[in-house]
């Protein structure tokens, strides 16, 4: 315990001495979390339609559609970039043609809406606010976890780690301290910003603050232990960061952090091994308030993952120290 205190205090002092980096490390989570929450609540999920040449009588439901009436057809690239989901050309005599890049089914939906203005195509139903925010935060926190392992990689480089191994401090304590440090640095600013956004600015964040407190704790744990594992494994810190950023991005995307997974096939079952996937499914269960046995199993899986990474990191570190 005493060893832990010594190491932890040392790390805190080092962090405070580098005020510039500390400031950046605190501002970035604040900025990112604010932007994520702000954008999730303000962005319109309406479908953009462009109408070219007339059709003044046409009235689409403004809750679902955002209509731009133009004199000239916009270039195709704007359809590709989803600036407009569809362009309707008025060809006089009540005839019109629909141009879209989104496939036949979408074209049919637009057709139906034009003929039957009461039809609700349910295009604007996205994911809930809470899950969207959580998805983005998961990705962000996993990436940030890497950067707080900086001191560890620095220790390795400068040779402080070698000196520590000569002391009676056990390597597990040292690694455990790194995890606690990374956890605190990652968790506290994010949670603080969420608290401020909810209470001071009254923004909608989806889940309650209590739920966020342990949801975030869980994912930050995963982030920190994964960061520790990659930092132990790679000789150069930069390579570790690039490698883990890539892995995190791809696994998070496949787990449905940015886009909901709509495919039900073998890839979906394969992604079940990613902790992010289990985590998001857990969050969905909380939202729908269905607490079943699988919920407990998911938490246990994530816990096991974290534990496994920690053990793996410790074993690798010890082996590397033995080899010098």
């Amino acid at each position: 315990m005493r060893q832990f205190q010594i190491l932890f205090k040392n790390m805190m002092r080092r962090m405070v001495s580098r005020k510039g980096i500390l400031l950046i490390s605190l501002c970035i989570p604040a900025l990112v979390v604010t932007l994520v929450v702000y954008f999730t609540s303000t962005f319109e999920m309406k479908t953009n339609i462009a109408i070219v040449g007339g059709m003044e009588t046409l009235d689409l439901n403004p809750d679902f559609f955002h209509v731009d009436r133009l004199d000239e057809a916009p270039p195709t690239s704007q359809l590709v970039r989803n600036r407009y989901s569809a362009i309707i050309h008025d060809q006089a005599d009540g005839d019109y043609s629909i141009e879209t890049m989104k496939g036949e089914s979408f074209k049919n939906i637009v057709q139906t809406v034009l003929t039957n203005p009461e039809y609700d195509p349910k295009l604007h139903k996205g994911r809930s606010v809470g899950i969207t925010i959580l998805g983005y935060l998961t990705l962000f926190l996993l990436m940030q976890g890497q950067f707080y392992m900086n001191y560890f990689s620095e220790d390795k480089r400068i040779g402080i780690l070698q000196r520590i191994t000569a002391t009676p401090i056990r390597i597990e304590t040292y690694l455990w301290t790194q995890i606690c440090f990374g956890f605190v640095m990652n968790y506290v600013p994010t949670l603080l910003v969420l608290i401020i956004l909810k209470n001071v600015f009254q923004m909608k964040i989806g889940f309650s603050l209590i739920q966020y407190s342990w949801l975030l704790a869980l994912i930050v744990l995963v982030a920190t232990t994964f960061a520790l594992f990659t930092t132990v494994s790679f000789e150069l810190a930069d390579n570790a960061i690039i490698f883990s950023s890539s892995v995190i991005l791809i696994t998070s995307l496949l787990s449905g952090c940015l886009y909901p997974m709509t495919h039900q096939d073998i890839i979906e079952t394969f992604t079940a091994i990613f902790p992010q996937k289990q985590y998001l499914m857990m969050a969905e269960a909380i939202e729908e308030q269905t607490l079943t046995r699988t919920f407990i199993l998911r938490i246990m899986y994530i816990g096991l993952f974290v534990f496994g990474l920690f053990i793996a990191a410790t074993v690798r570190c010890q082996r590397k120290i033995k080899e010098g």
Partner: protein, 250 residues
């Protein structure tokens, strides 16, 4: 003459260092490819048959990869391994700017080769409309962006004198710009506020240029984009020249 020969030797060595670094090699070839496939797969339902999601992400991820050239450039400045060789270069009777110029040029050569390879890959795998010289202009845009990003990475290293800080900053900047410019998801359709915000990002204009070239065969944006890239590169190089101090490498 001796100076040019010295230059060539250093650049060759730097390129070899980059190619033999497995992580950098992977992040410039395999990683963008995997990203394209994953993102294309996830959003298959949102696109039709003329323009598939794979095509969309093929193009946008190439632009994203060109952005990340700055991180590759910052990493080619690696401290421990390169520090001693940087010192030797400084002592040698060639211009001291070669230290950072060679890193920039080596990164540019390496990443542009990777870019062209990837363009070939997406053309073969995903099939994009090909008419006349549109591909040539697209590769030109990528080349300009690579040049600018490589210089930016080197400048960041000169300013912050630490790869980790440059890495972190450049990562954040690149991801933010990519998201705001609609490289990861169609940002343009999210409303007026989103549109105004995306106007600030220069990457959005690069993406706009790309899509206009490929889908509208409209070359209006190409020359301004290239011009800004080249002018920006020159300005950044002047910055490097001013900010580079040998003393930081001892």
């Amino acid at each position: 003459m001796r100076s040019i020969r010295g230059f060539q030797v250093v650049i060759r060595r730097d390129v070899i260092n980059l190619v033999t670094n497995p992580v950098l090699l992977m992040s410039n070839t395999i990683f963008p490819l995997v990203l394209m496939i994953v993102l294309g797969y996830l959003t298959e339902g949102m696109y039709g048959n003329e323009v598939t999601s794979y095509q969309y992400y093929g193009l946008t991820m190439l632009i994203f990869m060109s952005l990340n050239v700055s991180i590759t450039a910052a990493n080619s400045f690696m401290e421990n391994r390169i520090r001693r060789s940087n010192l030797r270069i400084l002592y040698a009777p060639i211009s001291r700017s070669i230290v950072y110029l060679s890193k920039m040029i080596a990164t540019f050569i390496f990443t542009t080769a990777c870019s062209y390879l990837l363009v070939l890959c997406i053309y073969l795998m995903f099939g994009l409309p090909s008419k006349g010289f549109t591909w040539f202009y697209f590769m030109l845009i990528l080349t300009g962006l690579n040049l600018f990003a490589a210089t930016l990475g080197v400048l960041m290293c000169c300013i912050f004198k630490s790869e980790e800080v440059s890495n972190q900053l450049l990562s954040i900047v690149n991801y933010s710009l990519a998201i705001v410019s609609g490289l990861f998801f169609p940002w343009d359709g999210l409303g007026r506020v989103a549109e105004w915000i995306s106007m600030i990002s220069p990457v959005k204009w690069v993406a706009e240029a790309t899509f206009r070239v490929i889908y509208d065969h409209d070359l209006a944006f190409v020359l301004p984009t290239l011009g800004i890239c080249i002018v920006g590169t020159l300005l950044l190089l002047i910055g490097c020249h001013r900010l580079f101090n040998e003393e930081d490498y001892i």
